[in-house]
């Protein structure tokens, strides 16, 4: 039996929970150190998995682990990675590690916070490595509980409302998905929850069935992405969540919808996916344009970034709908770069909010004079988010649009408007907040500190690295996505 590196990665945070719970509540720094140590260990394990992973192998999972779990219902403990999931695992462990450091600003009920935080990390990682639909669903749901408490206890003013709204919305989506999972189970012969086995059997699923099940899965995934019109939970959850949780929400949780689409819906239900291509592309464009327009109208900085996520996710949908290898590369890459850049943006908003305790854009002016380092980093990240060439966001949006153009020329042109609007609101925000004369109120605002720099700088380095040399990422995922694109083309 091979070394269970994926199990180690996923369950290391869970061990961390036990350690955290055993520590006395007043050892605040000890709890923080333990939590960060365990997220670091998970990061180390995931890098180990990356080292053991060979992106050139396509059509097969790697580092697989397969054990009988509930044989009376044909459920297996089946883990594995390929070029699609590997980037997300690294993204999750990295952001979890950095956001754990950022969580030092949590002062109340630290023990509970980190216990829930680590549970959240296990849930997120599990989704990206599970190859059995039952297991996938369990991890998918496990995330909701810590998220509910993390938003509800440590969130902003309307936290209770945001927490229950998030919980109910995503639960609704996932239970509908559960019906889809069960439908697949009973239609497959022999009955199975195994994704790979279901992919082998996809030829036996009739088209109408594929469409219905695709839609069931789509509800679950679309709420997570979020796709218009299922996006209304997102601004509430984002704005009310504490900084570190916003980072994980934007950086990891939003990726699960797109990941699920490409991992489950596409390869298992190809005809359903082809049937839904046009709606998906159009919804993607709506996300891009509508999300950007709404973002522009926001007065709250955090809300602005939340809506910018809606827009950015549109490129994922558009790329996924086009199904060309380049477009799929763009879609997946957009998810990764959005995780990095928007994760950094939320960290930076948190830095400002911790000091100023307001997030109104209009409350700030001329910050560049007072906190130059912070403003430099924030401007850099915003510009990366709007897609400046040379930075990561540009590459992924570009790939997504180039790859989609042959399939949806008109839609791609319309999405161009979204890019312009995005550029407009970010530049406008920079001008309003950072340039001009300093508001007297902020004359004593301290600049970003060392700990906060530690959380942001790695993300900035990645932003530049991927922007200048995108092959590091593309090499990792392209073989798997090219294979997926080929499969989808043959099963039209």
């Amino acid at each position: 039996m091979a070394f269970p590196i994926l199990t180690l990665t996923v369950f290391t945070p869970l061990v961390g929970i036990i350690v955290v719970l055993l520590l006395p509540e007043r050892w605040v720094n000890g709890i923080r150190a333990v939590a960060v140590a365990f997220t670091a260990a998970a990061l180390a394990f995931s890098i180990w998995a990356l080292a053991a992973f060979d992106p050139k192998i396509t059509g097969a999972m790697q580092l697989e682990e397969l054990h009988r779990w509930i044989p009376s219902v044909d459920i297996f403990y089946h883990l594995g990675v390929d070029g699609l999931s590997m980037p997300f695992i690294i993204l999750t462990t990295l952001l979890s590690f950095l956001a754990a450091i950022a969580s030092f600003s949590i002062k109340e009920r630290v023990k509970e916070y980190f216990a829930l935080y680590l549970l959240l990390e296990t849930g997120m990682l599990g989704v990206f490595v599970a190859l059995d639909l039952f297991l996938f669903y369990v991890f998918w749901e496990v995330m909701l509980v810590p998220m509910y408490f993390l938003i509800g206890i440590w969130g902003g003013e309307k936290r209770e409302y945001a927490a229950i709204k998030f919980f109910l919305y995503t639960l609704l989506g996932s239970v509908v998905m559960l019906l889809g999972i069960l439908a697949l189970y009973f239609t497959s012969q022999p009955h199975t929850f195994d994704m790979l086995e279901l992919m082998r059997q996809r030829g036996t699923f009739v088209r109408a069935f594929q469409i219905i099940v695709f839609l069931a899965f789509y509800v679950g995934f679309a709420i997570k992405v979020p796709v218009f019109p299922f996006h209304t939970w997102l601004p509430d959850a984002h704005v009310e969540a504490p900084t570190a949780i916003s980072v994980l929400l934007a950086g990891v949780l939003l990726k699960m919808g797109g990941y699920g689409l490409l991992r489950v819906s596409y390869p298992i239900l190809p005809q359903g996916a082809h049937w839904f291509v046009w709606p998906l592309a159009i919804l993607g464009v709506i996300n891009i344009v509508y999300g950007s327009l709404v973002a522009m109208a926001q007065k709250d900085l955090k809300k602005l970034i939340a809506y910018s996520s809606v827009g950015h996710m549109g490129f994922v949908l558009l790329g996924a709908a086009a199904m060309t290898p380049t477009a799929l590369d763009g879609a997946v890459m957009q998810m990764v770069t959005h995780g990095i850049i928007t994760g950094a943006l939320f960290l930076l908003v948190g830095v400002l909010y911790d000091r100023a305790h307001v997030r109104e854009i209009s409350a700030f002016s001329g910050l560049g004079v007072r906190v130059p380092v912070y403003v430099g980093i924030m401007s850099f990240t915003m510009i990366a988010s709007l897609g400046l060439p040379g930075l990561a966001g540009f590459v992924s949006e570009f790939l997504s649009l180039v790859g989609s153009f042959p399939v949806f020329p008109v839609l791609v042109i319309i999405s161009g408007a979204g890019i312009i609007i995005t550029a407009a609101y970010f530049l406008w925000t920079i001008r309003r907040m950072f340039l001009g004369t300093l508001t007297p109120r902020w004359e004593n605002l301290p600049d970003i500190n060392f700990r906060e720099l530690v959380t942001v700088v790695p993300l900035m380095i990645l932003t530049v690295l991927i922007g200048v040399y995108p092959s590091v990422l593309i090499k990792l995922m392209d073989p798997a996505l090219t294979e997926l694109s080929r499969v989808m083309a043959t099963l039209k």
Partner: protein, 503 residues
Amino acid sequence: MDYNWLSLSPHLILAGGALLLVLAGAASRRFAGRVAPYFTVAVAVAAAAAALALWRAPATSWFGALTVDPFFVIFAVIFAAALALVALLSAGYAPLESADRPEYYSLLILVTCAVSFMASATNLVLIYVAIEFSSILSYVLVGYLRGDRLSSEAGLKYFLYGAAASAVMLLGFALLYGMTGTTDVNALAANLPRAELLFGTWGHAAVVTPAGTVAGALSPVFIFLAFALVLVGLGYKISAVPFHMWAPDAYQGAPTPIAAFLSVASKASGFAVILRLVFALHGPLDLVYAPWTKYAAALAVASMVLGVLVGIVQSDVRRLLAYSSIAHAGFALLGVVVDTHLGFAAVLVYLVLYAAMNVGAFGTVAVIGHVTGSYDLKDYAGMGRRHPVLAAALAVFLLALAGIPPLAGFFAKFYILAALIGRGYIFLAVVAILASVVALFLYARVLKPMYFGKPVGEDLRRLSPAAAAALVVCFLFTFLLGVWPHLLVAWAKAAIVPLLPRI
């Protein structure tokens, strides 16, 4: 002869234990009062062991009145577990301290004996007697806090509802007997076509007997009527809508450990009888009155929907849990509606998992109520700070009831849903999942004050070791059976398949 004493051993252990405790109470009240909870646990363990020993030796004895088979064993284990846990919870329950303790525990053991008879009875008369036996004991236990007005009122309400329901059910049994000429449950099916002799002139539907011959005209009205009447009694037992009205009052007024027992063991015993009757009449029920599943489905849907919707507006935690238990009865009933091996097995799995988490939930509420003296949601504010462990336990049980994986409630619901989808009942599955989503809101009504609210009152420290032990056991089962339900599923299938070889 047909006196199989061995197959009676679980019942005899319970009955003997109860009598012994009464005698001990007569000899030395103080001593008996002190050891009663632990003695009850020992009796429960012995009864469960005796039942498990019968797993491999299924037998129908006492002239066909009593059947002990794996199906019974699973129920007997649920009952024994509920008895042991409730006994431990009662040990730490303040209002009972001034009550007659030996008698309380001996009644508790006796009611377990009664529900065990319900699960093993295969004769209409014995079924009725067992139901009455368990109901009468339950009335007494619900009203056990004599000084408490709420408790007395609850006992009386429960009694009035129960008396009416069982009278109606008895009429149903009488009709069945009249049509078939037998009280043996397993002989009902073969004898049903004889009803033409009685009602032939009224009826028109042609009936195909299990043997395949056309038996002539039998009015489906009478068969339907018989089942409808029986269902009143059993619906009351499982607290399904519209026979649920007693449950919130009874659970609120009863000593909370008794509410836990009623919501788990009593409910399970109702399901045991329903399943036995459905198994016995499986062929004729389908042939004569095919839409019976539709009526059961209507009850199930009504229970789920009404349970969660009315539960949401409750402010007393016990009432809230009562409505939740109504919704769960509806969910479990869906497994009966499915009418496949998978569906029936899912009901058994559901009842076992539900027992663990619901006793846990009621138990935690009892412990919290014991310390704070309040069951009002308002007084749960900040419980997460006042007693982090208890609050976390309650949160786990409530999330389990809501069906969040990997806790027990998820697999329970998952398995029922699997059965529904497997049979193609998409609509029911959709209703069930929507009800579960709304149910989450119901449980969040308790979670919210506990974790998001400001603490009211001082920190809680005192916790009875017996009650704590019971909660730990519930927690372990809620977690472990949720993560690894394999053996449970295998046992449930093994219990169901031999009873229904034909589907």
